[in-house]
């Protein structure tokens, strides 16, 4: 039988190919390759870009929106931001939550919200631990201001508790409960870990678990099979830190990522000829960009010099050159649509060289002065810096631009990272924002000097206003107070407000993205279409 059939087999090309393929597959299977290929093809992976690398998985040390995108995917909160064009929230771990009076919020947890790693069910004790540890001075959390006047969390039963504030704190609903400090961690897990974690976490309770972090390359989240909310949409989420938006766009076009914010300069071309199976959307941004001046620096301590610099900066030219005319000039740090937004700043956006020279003369610097401008090495920033350099030169101010890569830049003003903060003179900065004015002003109080307050601006009246404005329920009164704070910032000469930018995003039609009203992704709510 074999003898008869063998020649036929060899001469039959289809059979021969089949045998070859089978042989190759057999070898690959023996090496473990086939199972891997099939597994990879079956996986639903969301690949997304963030503008910076992950810094911490501990809500106490979260460094802003990038860490929060990851943390909000792996931890649960009582409430989460609701995706859409209007600000709002939806229940997450809470079955119910209610403001019972000016200083108390009562909540009841859903039963069966489990922590991974065998750390059991989420209880009100975990909520108490998670929130109160942020206030612990020994922990030196960078996010303490987010909790405002939080006094304590009382545990009323296994699932019920009361969040108690010493003063009314309306921002809790906007920037605390659904944001960084609202993440609930396992008390047991954290205590076993020594009270804090860095870039690994002992457990998760959200739709995804932290699986891997490759510094400066990617963070991988994997589906949490025990998530209380059902089945997470993706097997894995791969988060790639890509500083530059143009690089991110190239990564998107080459299929390496599924969703990214793109540069304002690209929007026109993308709309004219969008990549296949892609959607471009534009969201108003809450980011704020400004030029800060270090009031404690020997040179910049001169208020007249600071005011001269303010008058030298021509915002319309910056918007045209760096933002392709697609962004509006800002009047402060609070974006339009939020309480405290100033319709008009005290300084016009346009430069005024004559006034700058008057201030220079008053500063005793009529012959000119040389100062430095520290900038994150990103195309829009470098362009902005060069516009500032050129316009300052018209008044006799020589600006030396120092470019920094991301890691070096974000440690510049941090007084715990060395003495470099003292050398800052001018700094072009950009902060993210949550939808409450207190989130903008919180970083400029005296206590934030050397943390996020790189201008080292300090005014007791500002601090008092900042503390008071957070605890007032009257919207008109709050509005007035926040406007006054921005007036004070501007009057100090330490700030020149530039823009709030805009958030254009592009994503594949194979996914259903979920964005906050300001265009930031809510990864936990992404799904495949």
């Amino acid at each position: 039988m074999i003898k008869n059939t063998a020649p036929v087999l060899v001469s039959d090309p289809k059979r021969r190919n089949f045998l070859k393929t089978s042989g190759a597959l057999g070898l690959a299977a023996a090496a473990g390759g086939v199972s891997e290929i099939i597994y990879a093809q079956d996986k639903k992976i969301l690949k997304i870009r963030t503008y910076a690398d992950m810094r911490s998985l501990d809500p106490a040390y979260s460094q802003g929106v990038v860490d929060e995108e990851i943390q909000s995917s792996i931890y649960s909160k009582l409430i989460q931001y609701k995706p859409g064009r209007e600000w709002g929230y939806e229940l997450d771990a809470a079955e119910s939550i209610e403001q019972v009076d000016d200083t108390r919020i009562k909540f009841k947890l859903k039963e069966g919200v489990m922590f991974t790693g065998g750390f059991g069910e989420m209880t009100a004790e975990d909520v108490k631990y998670s929130y109160e540890r942020i206030l612990d001075e020994s922990l030196e959390s960078t996010n303490t201001p987010d909790w405002g006047s939080l006094k304590e969390v009382t545990v009323d039963s296994k699932y019920e508790g009361t969040i108690v504030f010493s003063d009314p704190y309306p921002p809790a609903w906007n920037i605390a409960l659904p944001y960084i400090v609202g993440n609930i961690i396992s008390k047991k897990a954290w205590e076993e870990a020594g009270g804090k974690v860095d870039t690994t976490t002992p457990c998760a309770s959200g739709p995804y678990m932290h699986q891997e972090w490759q510094p400066k390359q990617k963070t991988v989240l994997a589906r949490n099979p025990d998530w209380h909310g059902g089945v997470a949409a993706f097997d894995e989420i791969h988060i790639f830190p890509i500083d530059d938006e143009n690089t991110a766009q190239i990564a998107y076009e080459s299929g390496d990522i599924d969703c990214t914010r793109v540069s304002l300069g690209s929007v026109g071309n993308l709309k004219a000829s969008p990549p296949a199976n892609s959607t471009i959307e534009e969201y108003p941004s809450l980011y704020y960009v400004w030029v800060g001046m270090n009031v404690e620096n020997e040179t910049m301590a001169n208020a007249d010099l600071r005011k001269a610099v303010q008058h030298c900066i021509d915002v319309p030219s910056i918007l045209q050159a760096s933002y392709f005319g697609a962004a509006e000039a800002s009047t402060g740090i609070i974006a339009p649509g939020l309480i405290g937004h100033r319709p008009k700043g005290k300084l016009p956006p346009e430069m005024n060289i004559a006034k700058a020279q008057e201030h220079l003369a008053a500063a005793g610097l009529s012959d000119g002065v040389s100062i430095t401008l520290d900038v994150l090495n990103k195309s829009a920033n470098v362009t902005t810096a060069q516009v500032i350099q050129a316009t300052c030169a018209q008044a006799g101010i020589t600006v030396e631009v120092n470019l920094h890569e991301s890691g070096a830049f974000w440690s510049l003003g941090d007084s715990s990272s060395g003495e470099r903060y003292k050398d800052i003179q001018l700094i072009l900065n950009r902060y993210s924002m949550a939808p409450d004015p207190s989130y903008a002003t919180a970083w400029f109080i005296t206590d934030q000097k050397g943390i996020w307050n790189w201008e080292r601006y300090s005014d007791p009246e500002f601090d008092k206003l900042e503390a008071a404005a957070k605890s007032i329920s009257d919207v008109a009164q709050r509005d007035e107070m926040y406007r006054k704070m921005q007036d004070m910032m501007e009057d100090s000469g330490a700030y020149r407000f530039i823009t709030h930018e805009a958030s254009p995003v592009i994503y594949r039609n194979s996914i259903n993205p979920a964005f906050r009203p300001d265009g930031l992704p809510l990864l936990r709510s992404f799904s495949s279409s």
Binding site: G265, Q320, A321, N377, S379, T383, Q389, E400, L403
Partner: protein, 278 residues
Amino acid sequence: MIDILKRITHETLGLFGLILVTIITVCAVLANVIAPYDPIALNIVDRLQGPSASHWLGTDQLGRDLFSRVLFGGQIALKVALVSIGAALCIGVILGMLAGFGPRWLDNIIMLFFDTIRSFPTVMFALATVALVGPSLSTVIAVIIVTSIPNYGRVVRTQTLTIKSNQFVMAERVMGVSTMRILFVHILPNVIGPLIILASMDIPTVIALEAGLSFLGMGVKPPTPSWGSILNDGYTLIRNTPWPIIAGSIPLVLITLGFTFLGESLRDLIDPKLRKSL
């Protein structure tokens, strides 16, 4: 020298290289005269224009004339190349001759220094240095000098070791001639030929390194024009206009070709094994 130049002009590629290098060098040196605009003068109204009679290579995102920036960028490129290679050559020659002619222990110390430097990948070393001390032209030059010294030093050391055992050197020593005279009058002329070839081949590498660091924002500071920073601007604007990328690329390609052809011709002429016409 004139003889070598004459011979280069008889080789097609050598002549082509010489012409390219001469044109680029003259353009860079005379940039102040040739450039139609101030390379750092902003004119935002005329930003991102294509080539025209008034702007031969168009304008960048700040309305600066790209042709003028390319010309002035040549000054930076050549300054970096000549200063850093010149300094590295001088230091490398001295250290190489000392290692080759000096006592064994000195040779060991110098070779350890060379090996230590060579163990760092140049680009990584440059990035680390810039991250520590901040980006500037002098930082770039310093990095290139330090990383290039072993290249020249090793060649000189090997040549010196070979020459020092020659009879004419031994005769000089017997006659009581000073070490300095032996090194600079007898050994140096014999090692300088290969070094010139090496240096001419290194120039495009150094220019590319400077451009690479400037592309990454770790080279010259804004608004100083550099071919690398022009490329960086072009890269970010490539969807709006291709001209900045083209403007930044052309001189890099031409100068690389020019110095490579010139270096290869020099090698063919100076190296006796490859010299065909003699």
